[in-house]
Symmetry: C2
Subunit: 416 residues, 2 copies
């Protein structure tokens, strides 16, 4: 509703990204500048911080440090994976949230996260509306997975994609350096959506990419994989670079990391080692060809490599935070901030609002028509889509040759 | 000897680095500018390229692309792992090298590599001297391992160290984001020398490092490791980041990756999965504590991550190439270029020459007195040593938000 005045509560949730704190910076700075907002709070560890009445007084932070959040990876407030029950089933948590919101006169609530977080945000929004407590609730999107519905792309995706493409270009040069056979399998994050793995196509566009790219959008067949690799090796001086998503699965839906790990990988304590489908596939190729192989997992680095973030992503993500606050102050509620790409040859991004129930729990995957070469390649449509997003370098402050990340005081608000 | 005039032959060998091509750029550009040098050749795949008479005419390259080599990772000429026999045992290869050198009037030979490569370079130098063929032979050092004798540090080390320290800082923020237990084990390269693993201490210096650091200079005990991690978790909200060298070994000298992998890790084809001591140790901790754990291998990225290279390293490495050519043209031979650190508060590096036989096959490890806290920490002596080396950002050309690496024509010299 319009005309609200009160405190702002911001919380971060789910897996962090290189730029998630850029949205925090946007929300905080816009919040501190707004006349309608009487206090700016950051909840410790997402929704848990509100339930536990543990949140930081952002007004006590230095402005300079809040600016540095734009280049500081991971969730500065702390994150959480906490699934709210349906209010119909058990409304204990909701009652408690309402109690806390009332106690601190929180009138603007922002939840920053991916699919699950938007579900949480949606549930809270609906409950608060039903309860009659006036509060404007806005979801701030975030996910390297790029799988949120209704937005052209997701804050955090482009930076991870840039890290992946850059690393693959560098690995390409390294892995092919010897005059001997070498098969390298690189693993990217993405359980159900292959956007990050598709980022390998950006390296291909620069001539230093992957010979084979496998997304979880299509079924993976290990025997075919071996034949694909052999075919590349035969025409490529016995060298091959393959990129796979962690979520590749066979036609029955069984994850390849489980299918290959099942009979395998018991450590000395008898525990199954499930990790790393890249290593498993590298071992498979070694067993089938005798070639030297290497499995590489881009692991956490792909989502926290802020030193290789996209300048465009940082600025858009920062602005998404500001836009969220502006919208809430203008009376919007029950929405998620979205990116829309303007028509035309020059890339331009504008901000829209999407009803939260549409954003919650809907996964956007890579269009099947972009997956080519019998499931081993990515079309140039993806490159056209993703290339504008990775432009620009992070304007990162360095000290002693190393990143100078934000140092927040994190002053807890005294419990009432 | 002084006053030589003829062709220059340059070859790269062993594992590449982010900046090895900066030395190539230095050798090539200095060589092309020198009056004593009639042609500049780059051997394809190290010593093999000379034996096979396959080398590129660097005079045909664009100067701009040669400059871009300074920021292009991996060995642009191709690398090789080829061990020359002792000339006393079998001089076939040496005779062939002499034949090729004579045929193309090669009077200046530069071999760019680490310990093994300096051994090769030394053997060739000695054989040529004995044969009476006038040629000046200079070794150009290169190794991320930082284990060459007689030089303050090695070209390539600082860039890998910077990549590692930066990544650990970023991982530190990411891995501690949830309010739940998390043990993260990060693996760095370095079989016998722990310089790269010690680079974690640079992240510690910035307050975002590792709780435990294990180098191969001291014996590793898996039971003690579990206790160390538990102790950190107990005082640190059940969070711990440990960094280990790939070469950690028990008191009998058995590699931990073999000790833990032995009874373990059979893939579905019955092949032992030896890789990743980080994953093995993460699994061990999981088995012993039930905590969520993650094993991260910095893999090839640490040695090819040119986008995160040290500006100081790039410039020094470039200059090492130039100095090598200058020395050879001035009549020096049978030497390796070394770095010496000038006394004083401000870091400054100067170039010296070391007899090749001293550089060959001697490994310099981390001083034991720098390893503290019962084998789990690194003293500030290391930070004082390494911090000046990682200063400065790479001046990397970007196109479309991605690195623009050198594109060489690689015109093969016509076989005579």
């Amino acid at each position: 509703m319009k005309g609200l005045k009160g405190a702002l509560m911001f919380a971060q949730s789910g897996g962090p990204t290189s730029v998630i704190n850029a949205s925090a910076a946007g929300v905080f700075i816009e919040g501190l500048e707004s006349d309608a907002i009487t206090a700016v709070y950051g909840a410790a560890h997402g929704i848990r911080g509100i339930l536990d009445e543990e949140f930081y007084d952002i007004g006590k932070e230095d402005k300079k440090e809040l600016e540095l959040l734009k280049n500081t990876p991971s969730s500065a407030m702390g994150s959480v994976r906490y699934k709210l029950k349906d209010a119909d089933v058990d409304d204990t948590d909701y009652k408690r949230l309402l109690e806390v919101f009332k106690k601190y006169n929180v009138r603007f609530f922002f939840y920053n996260g991916g699919n699950d977080s938007m579900d949480t945000c949606n549930k809270i929004s609906k409950y608060m509306a039903k309860s009659g407590y006036d509060i404007n609730v806005i979801g701030v999107p975030k996910t390297i997975d790029n799988d949120l519905y209704g937005t052209d792309h997701c804050p955090g995706f482009a930076s991870a994609a840039k890290y992946i493409a850059t690393s693959i270009m560098e690995i390409n040069l390294d892995a092919k350096v010897y005059d001997t056979p070498m098969v390298c399998v690189i693993e990217c994050m993405g359980r159900n959506a292959g956007w990050l793995t598709a980022a390998a196509a950006l390296a291909n566009y620069k001539g230093l990419g992957a010979d084979l790219i496998y997304l979880p959008e299509v079924d993976f067949d290990a025997d075919k994989f071996v034949e694909d690799v052999k075919a590349v090796c035969a025409k490529n001086n016995n060298k091959c670079i393959a990129v796979v998503s962690e979520g590749i699965h066979d036609k029955n839906g069984t994850l390849i990391c489980e299918a290959l790990g099942e009979t395998a990988a018991r450590d000395s304590f008898g525990h199954a080692q499930l990790g790393g489908v890249a290593s498993q596939l590298a071992n498979l190729i070694k067993a089938k060809t005798g070639y030297k192989t290497r499995g590489i997992e881009l692991s956490l680095m792909q989502r926290c490599g802020a030193h290789c973030a996209s300048g465009t992503d940082i600025e858009e993500t920062f602005k998404a935070g500001r836009e969220a606050v502006k919208a809430a102050v203008n009376g919007e509620t029950d929405k998620m901030v979205c990116y829309a790409r303007k028509d035309g040859d020059v890339y331009e991004c504008e901000y829209k609002l999407l009803p939260l129930e549409l954003a919650a729990n809907t996964e956007k995957t890579v269009p099947l028509e972009w997956i080519i070469n019998n499931g081993t390649g990515i079309s140039e449509e993806f490159v056209k889509y993703a290339l504008p997003l990775i432009q620009g370098e992070p304007n990162m402050l360095k000290e002693d040759g190393l990143p100078r990340f934000a140092k927040l005081k994190k002053v807890l608000v005294e419990k009432k």
